[in-house]
C-alpha cells in the first residue's frame, strides 16, 4: 500500500489502465449479480455460493492478516459464531436483525479475543488463535449439551439459494470497498507500518494495539456476517459443522495463494483452490486432509508472495527487459 500515489500511478497510461480495470470489475460484478436471471441452474448457483463465501472470508481475513502479517487461524470462530447466531435467532427475528446480531456478536468476540491475543506475535499468535477457535467450538458444544440439551439446531427461514448468493455477493462488494477505503486511510498506513516493524510503528506514534484491534474486529465482523448468510443453506447446524477448523486453513491457503497483501489477491486464490478442494473432497474423501496439507506446503514453498506477487514480478521483469 502506498499512502501516496506513486509517480507511476499518477501517469496517464497507468490511470487509463486502472480505469479499464475498474470498468471491467463493474461489468463483472453486474454479470455476477445477474447470473441467476441468466439461466444459471441450481448447481451453478451452489458453486457460486461456495466461491463467494470463500471470497468474503479470504478477503476479510487478508484485511487484517495481509498488512500486519499476523496469521490468524481464528477465522472459523467468527464464521461459526455468525452461523450459530443465525441459528439461534433465525426463526424469531427479522433477517436483517439476525444479520445485525451476528455482526454484533462477532465484533464483541473479536474485541475480547483481540485484547487477549494481539500482544502476541509470530508463531505464538498463530497457535493461540487456533486454540481459541477450538475453545469457542468447545464452549458452544458444552452450552448446547448442558444447557439447551441439544447438540444441533434446525434453521428454517424463507431464504432461497439465490438470495444467499446475492447476500454473499453484496458482502463481497462491501468487504472490498472497506479494504479499498482502509488502504487509503491512516489506519491502512498504520497497519503497513506495523507489519513491517512494530517497534518503529510505536515510535512514530501509532497506538499499535488499538489499530490492530480495530481492524481485527472489522475483519471478524465480515467473517461473522458470512457465517450468518451461509447458515440458512445448511438448514441443520451443529458445532462440528459451524466450527470446522478446516475452514480456517482453507481461507489461509486461498489468501496466501492469491497474495494476502493485495486487495484483490485473495480473490485470485479463491477460484482455483475452491475448485481444487471441490475436486479433491469428491474424488479423495479419505485423503483430503493430507492433500490439503501438501497443497498448503507447495503454495508456501513455491509462491510465497502469492499469484499476485508472481504476476507483478513478471511484469516488472518484462518492463526492465523492455527498457533495455
Amino acid at each position: 500500500m502506498n499512502a501516496l500515489p506513486s509517480p507511476a500511478a499518477a501517469g496517464n497510461s497507468t490511470g487509463a489502465g486502472r480505469l479499464a480495470l475498474q470498468a471491467l470489475a463493474v461489468a463483472g460484478l453486474a454479470l455476477l449479480a445477474a447470473l441467476p436471471w441468466l439461466g444459471a441452474d441450481d448447481y451453478l448457483i451452489a458453486v457460486g455460493i461456495n466461491i463467494l463465501q470463500y471470497g468474503v472470508l479470504a478477503t476479510a481475513w487478508a484485511l487484517f492478516s495481509g498488512p500486519t502479517r499476523y496469521v490468524s487461524l481464528a477465522t472459523v470462530a467468527f464464521f461459526g459464531i455468525g452461523a450459530y447466531t443465525a441459528a439461534v435467532f433465525g426463526e424469531t427475528l427479522p433477517w436483517p436483525a439476525v444479520l445485525a446480531a451476528a455482526l454484533g456478536v462477532s465484533l464483541v468476540l473479536a474485541l475480547i479475543v483481540g485484547l487477549a491475543t494481539l500482544r502476541l506475535s509470530g508463531v505464538h499468535f498463530v497457535i493461540f488463535t487456533f486454540g481459541l477457535a477450538e475453545l469457542v467450538h468447545q464452549l458452544v458444544n458444552w452450552y448446547e449439551v448442558n444447557v439447551t440439551r441439544t447438540l444441533g439446531r434446525y434453521l428454517f427461514v424463507d431464504i432461497s439459494q439465490v438470495q444467499i448468493y446475492w447476500q454473499l455477493l453484496a458482502l463481497l462488494v462491501a468487504v472490498l470497498a472497506t479494504g479499498w477505503a482502509i488502504r487509503r486511510s491512516r489506519l491502512g498506513l498504520a497497519l503497513q507500518v506495523i507489519g513491517d516493524d512494530e517497534v518503529v510503528a510505536r515510535h512514530v506514534g501509532i497506538d499499535t494495539t488499538r489499530a490492530k484491534l480495530l481492524l481485527f474486529a472489522i475483519s471478524a465482523g465480515f467473517i461473522g456476517l458470512a457465517g450468518a448468510a451461509m447458515a440458512p443453506r445448511w438448514t441443520y447446524i451443529d458445532p462440528a459443522i459451524a466450527f470446522n477448523p478446516v475452514i480456517s486453513f482453507q481461507v489461509l491457503i486461498m489468501a496466501l495463494l492469491g497474495g494476502a497483501n493485495r486487495l484483490f489477491g485473495p480473490l485470485l486464490g479463491v477460484l482455483p483452490v475452491a475448485l481444487l478442494f471441490e475436486l479433491l473432497s469428491g474424488s479423495f474423501p479419505n485423503h483430503f486432509m493430507i492433500l490439503l496439507g501438501l497443497v498448503f506446503m507447495a503454495i508456501v514453498y513455491f509462491i510465497p508472495n502469492g499469484l499476485f506477487g508472481l504476476l507483478e514480478r513478471r511484469r516488472q521483469r518484462a518492463g526492465k527487459e523492455g527498457g533495455k
Binding site: 499512502a3 501516496l4 513491517d196 517497534v199 515510535h203 506514534g205
Partner: protein, 270 residues
C-alpha cells in the same frame, strides 16, 4: 542554564541482577545538543530506550517540560515530542521512501496525511539528501541512505527532543562530514538533541556538553572538552590508568579517518 527541556532524575533499570542504568540524572536545556558517551555496555542505549519508552524504568523520573514520561507508551511519548533513531538502523523496508516519511508525519498532532503531506515529505527527503528517491523501496537503499531516511522519519515527527543513537557510526570520512553538517544544521535551527556517539570527532564538533556513563552510572557531566580529558573518563574508555598527557594530540592529520576511541579528536571537520 535555562529551565531544562529534559530532566532525568534517579533513573534506574535492571535486567535480572544486572543494573543497566543506575540512578542516572542529567538535564538538557532547550536548543542544547549533548553527547551521551561511554564505553560499550555502559547503559547509553538503555537510557535512550527509557527516554523513548521502548523500555520502562524501574525507578526514577524523566520529565519533558511539564510532562512525566516514565510509564508512558512510546506512541504517547512521541506525542509529547520525543523522536529517535535506532542503533541498528530500522527503516520500513517494504515501503517506499515517501511512505517511510509519511509514517512519521501521519500519527502525531500537527502531522499530515495524504496529498497534504506530499510537500513536507519531499522537503524532508531533500533535507537529508534523498530527493528524487520518493518511490524507491527503503529496503533497496544503501546503509548510509537508510540512516538518512530514518533521520527524515524522525524529523517528520517535528520533535522537541531528538535522540540519535550512533547515527554517525559506520560512515566513511566523506559521509561523516556530511552527517556532521546535517546534524549541525539541525542544531543551528534550535533542535534539542541527545547524541549517543563513539565518534569523538562528531561529539567534539556538535556537543557543547557531554554526559559520560560507565557501568550504568553517571561518570561525568560537563563541557565536552573538559569532560573528555577527565582521567576517570579516559580510564573508563581505555580500561587502564592513562595519563591525559599520554593521549594523542588534539588534531588528527588532515584527511585521516577518525578513530572511534580517540577521545580528543579535536573536530577538524567542525
Amino acid at each position: 542554564m535555562s529551565a531544562p527541556l529534559l530532566k532525568v532524575t534517579g533513573l534506574t533499570k535492571a535486567f535480572g541482577g544486572l543494573v543497566a542504568v543506575d540512578k542516572l540524572g542529567f538535564e538538557v536545556a532547550p536548543g542544547e545538543v549533548i553527547g551521551l558517551v561511554g564505553p560499550n555496555g555502559s547503559g547509553k542505549t538503555t537510557a535512550m530506550n527509557l527516554i523513548s519508552g521502548a523500555l520502562r524504568a524501574d525507578r526514577g523520573s524523566i520529565r519533558l517540560g511539564d510532562a512525566e514520561l516514565v510509564g508512558l507508551r512510546p506512541d504517547r511519548i512521541v506525542r509529547h515530542g520525543v523522536a529517535r533513531t535506532f542503533q541498528l538502523v530500522r527503516v520500513l523496508g517494504s515501503l517506499s521512501c515517501a511512505d517511510n516519511v509519511a509514517a512519521g508525519l501521519a500519527f502525531h498532532p500537527g502531522g499530515a496525511f495524504g496529498a497534504g503531506a506530499r510537500e513536507r515529505i519531499d522537503a524532508l527527503l531533500a533535507r537529508v539528501g534523498l530527493g528524487g528517491r520518493e518511490a524507491l523501496p527503503a529496503g533497496e537503499l544503501t546503509y548510509i541512505d537508510q540512516k538518512r531516511l530514518e533521520l527524515a522519519r524522525a524529523l517528520a515527527l517535528a520533535p522537541r527532543l531528538l535522540l540519535l543513537d550512533e547515527w554517525l557510526a559506520g560512515l566513511n570520512p566523506t559521509e561523516l562530514r556530511e552527517g556532521i553538517a546535517l546534524i549541525r544544521s539541525l542544531r543551528d535551527e534550535g533542535l534539542t538533541m541527545i547524541l549517543v556517539e563513539h565518534v569523538m570527532e562528531a561529539v567534539h564538533a556538535l556537543c557543547n556538553r557531554c554526559v559520560v556513563m560507565n557501568a550504568g552510572v553517571l561518570l561525568a557531566d560537563g563541557p565536552t572538552a573538559e569532560v573528555l580529558r577527565n582521567p576517570e573518563v579516559v580510564r573508563a574508555y581505555l580500561g587502564e590508568d592513562v595519563e591525559t598527557d599520554d593521549l594523542p594530540p588534539p588534531h588528527l592529520p588532515t584527511g585521516e579517518a577518525p578513530t572511534q576511541l580517540n577521545l580528543d579528536a579535536g573536530g577538524q571537520h567542525a
